[in-house]
Amino acid sequence: MAIIDPFKDGLGRGWKVFGGRHAGAQPLPERISCDVAIVGSGAGAGITAELLTQAGLDVLLIEEGPLKTSSDFHQLEREAYPQLYQESAGRKTADKAINILQGRCVGGSTTVNWTSSFRTPDDTLAYWQQHFGLKDCTLEALAPWFAQAERRLGIGPWLAPPNENNELLKRGADRLGIRAATIQRNVKGCWNLGSCGLGCPTNAKQSMLVTTIPAALERGARLLVETRAQAFEHDGSKVRWLDCVPVATDGSAASDRTVRVSAKHYVVAGGAINSPGLLLRSKAPDPHNRLGHRSFLHPVVASAAVFDQRVEGWAGAPQTIYSDHFLGVDPIDGPIGYKLEAPPIHPTVFATTMAGFGLEQTRQLKQFPHTHALLALLRDGFHPQSPGGRVRLRDDRTPLLDYPLTAFVMDGARRALLSMAELQFAAGAREVIPTHELARSYRSWDEAKREIAALPMKPQLTRVFSAHAMGGCGFAGEAKLGVVQPNGQHWQLENLSVHDGSLFPTSVGANPQLSIYGIVNRLASGLTHRLTGRTVSLA
C-alpha cells in the first residue's frame, strides 16, 4: 500500500511553510501581520486553526519544533526523541524526580502520542463546576463538541484484538474481578505497528499533523516552524505584538533575528508548561497570582512483570485496554486514585525506566521480549494536598516545572504499585519488578505485598514520569480563580486566548487529548464567532 505524505504534495502545491530548512525557499520576514496568530501546532492549536480558517480568517501558526512528516518517521528512538520531543524526551521537573514526555514538532504531542481517546470524566467536570465556577462544563453541554471531534479525528472502538501486553491487563483484571474495558483510538487504517510514540510512519494516526494542520494550510494558513514565540508586548490590557525567534533543533537560538508578529487576536497553545512559560516571559498581568500554578501531570508509576510467554510490548497498538477501578475506590477528593494502562515499551525507554544497573540490569534487559508493563496514572489536583506544581523561568527564560511529590501523592504511588503487582501475579507473572530503586524482583504476590508496603516512597527512589502535562493557565468562572475565562479569553488581556491542555484547573483523570479536542472545539468555535460572526464546525 502506498503511503501518501500530505506534506510532500501540499508543499509542492504551495503550502506556506517558513523557517528552519524551509527558510531557503521562503525567507523569514521581519514582520508578519495576520488576523490570528496561534502559538504551537499541537492538539489545541490544530483544532483552533481548522475552525478559524474555515471562517476565512488569515491564520499564522508558530511552532518551535521542526516539520517532520511520515517520510521522516523510521520508528527509531534515537531519531524521534531529539527531533520530536521537548528537551529530547528528557524534560524533568526542577528536582529531577519526574521525567516529562511532551511533543515538540509540527502536530505537537499528538504527533507522538499513543492514540488513547477518552471524553472528560463526569466527576472531573462536576469538580470544575463546583470549585472553579465552570458552570457550562457539563457532560451534556460538552457532548456535541466531543462528538464532532470524534468524527473529525476518526475516534472509535479498536476492533482488533489487544496485543499481549494489553491482554495481560485484561486477564489479570478479570481474575481479580476488576472491570477492564477497551480504549477508543483515533486511527484510520492502522497497521498495528506499535510505533505511535515515534511518529506514525503510515499516517494512520489522526494526529494534528495529518488532519487539522494540513486542512488549515490548504485554506491558506501560514506555518512558521523552528520558531519560538518568545514574548508578547502588551500594555496590560491588550497585546500589541508577539516577538518570535528562530531556534535550532536543540532549542537554542539559531540567530538573533526577531520576527515581529502583529495580529488582531493571539491564541496561546504551546501546551502546559510552555504556555504558562510564554506568559511569564511576557510578564502577562497576573493580579491573583495564578499563572503557572496548579500544573498537573498525572504522575505515573510503573510495574514490570516477566511472563513465561513472549509479550513483545513494542508490537501492536500500544494502549487498548484500561481499568478505572482504582479511580472509583475513594471519592474524587479523597486519597488519590489511579487509572491503569499498559504502555508500549521500546529499548531506550525500557532501559532508562527500569531501576538499577550492572549485572541485575543486564538480567532484566535480557527478559525484554517476555516483559509486560503496567502504568498507573495518578489523578492529581483534587485534594488540598495535591496542588500540583508551579512553572517558573530558568535564567535563560526557558520554562521549568517545580512539582513537589508530596506524601499524599506518594501514598497513591504505593497503592498503585501494590495494585499493579497483584494484578500481574493474577495474570500469571513469574516475577514482578516495581520501578523503584530499592525494589527487587518479587516471585509471589505475598512477597511483593510485604516488600512494597515497606518501600520508602520518596522522590528519586520511586521512578516517576508523565506524558500528560496539564494546567498552569487554568480557566475559571471568576478572575481570582484562574488565568483565563470560561471562554478561553485571558482575564486581563482582551485579545489573547489560551486553547490547550494548560486550561485545565485539575488533571483530567483520563488521557487528556480528547478533553483538549472537545473543549477547544467549543472555545475556538466561540472565538471564530466573536471575530467574524460566522458559525463553523469541525465535522
Binding site: 520508528q75 527509531l76 529531577k96 510505533s195 510512519p201 536543540d250 544497573f357 549485572l359 525484554f368 521480549p369
Partner: protein
C-alpha cells in the same frame, strides 16, 4: 542538576531536607570552590556540545559499571564498544537544550576533580584507574543515599549511559528486540 543563579547561593543555609536542585552552581559553589577550585569552570565536561577528555573519562568508567554484563568481554571489542558508546553519548548530549548541556558540563566538571569527585561519589581512585567493583560501590551508594545531589548525579550518569547505549541498533540483540517492523 541546575545552574541556579549565584544570587540564590545564600539560601543554601536551609537544612539538607529542603527540596533542591543539583545546585552545583548555587550553594555548592562555595563548597566546590574550596574543595575543587571551581572545577567546572576550568574543566567543563562538555564543550561546544561534545564531551571533553575529562568528561569522556567519567562516562567511560561509568559505562563499565552500569553496562556490566552487557559489554563485550574481549579487551579490543570492549574498547571499540566504549568508543562507539562515547560517540553516541556526544550525539545524545547534543540533542539537549542549552540549559541541560550546561548542567551536564558542570556535573562532569565536578566529577573530574578528585576532591569533589570523592565528595559526590565516595570514589577514591581516578575514574580511569577505578575497578568495576569500586565503581559499582560508588554508584550503589549514590543510588540509595538520602543526599539529593548525589542521587541526582547517579540518575544523570546512569540514565544517559543507558539511553545512549540501548538506542544503538547493534545492542538490540542483547534485548532480543528485532527492531522496527517493515513499512
Amino acid at each position: 542538576m541546575s545552574l541556579a543563579p549565584a544570587a540564590q547561593a545564600g539560601r543554601m543555609s536551609t537544612g539538607p531536607s529542603r527540596r533542591r536542585l543539583l545546585q552545583l552552581g548555587a550553594g555548592a559553589t562555595a563548597l566546590f570552590t574550596v574543595a575543587g577550585g571551581a572545577a567546572w569552570l576550568w574543566r567543563p565536561g562538555v564543550r561546544g556540545g561534545r564531551l571533553t577528555p575529562s568528561g569522556r573519562a567519567v562516562f567511560r568508567a561509568v559505562a563499565r559499571a552500569v553496562l556490566e554484563g552487557s559489554l563485550p568481554a574481549e579487551p579490543a571489542a570492549l574498547d571499540a564498544a566504549l568508543e562507539r558508546h562515547l560517540q553516541r553519548l556526544d550525539e545524545t548530549i547534543a540533542g539537549f537544550p542549552t540549559a541541560t548541556q550546561a548542567e551536564i558540563a558542570q556535573l562532569l566538571g565536578v566529577l573530574s576533580v578528585s576532591a569533589t569527585r570523592q565528595w559526590l561519589t565516595g570514589l577514591r581512585s581516578d575514574w580511569a584507574d577505578a575497578s568495576v567493583n569500586e565503581l559499582e560501590a560508588a554508584l550503589r551508594r549514590m543510588r540509595t543515599t538520602d543526599h539529593e545531589l548525589r542521587q541526582q548525579a547517579y540518575h544523570a550518569l546512569r540514565d544517559l549511559t543507558n539511553a545512549a547505549y540501548f538506542a544503538q541498533s547493534e545492542h538490540w540483540l542483547l534485548l532480543g528486540y528485532p527492531g522496527p517492523s517493515a513499512v
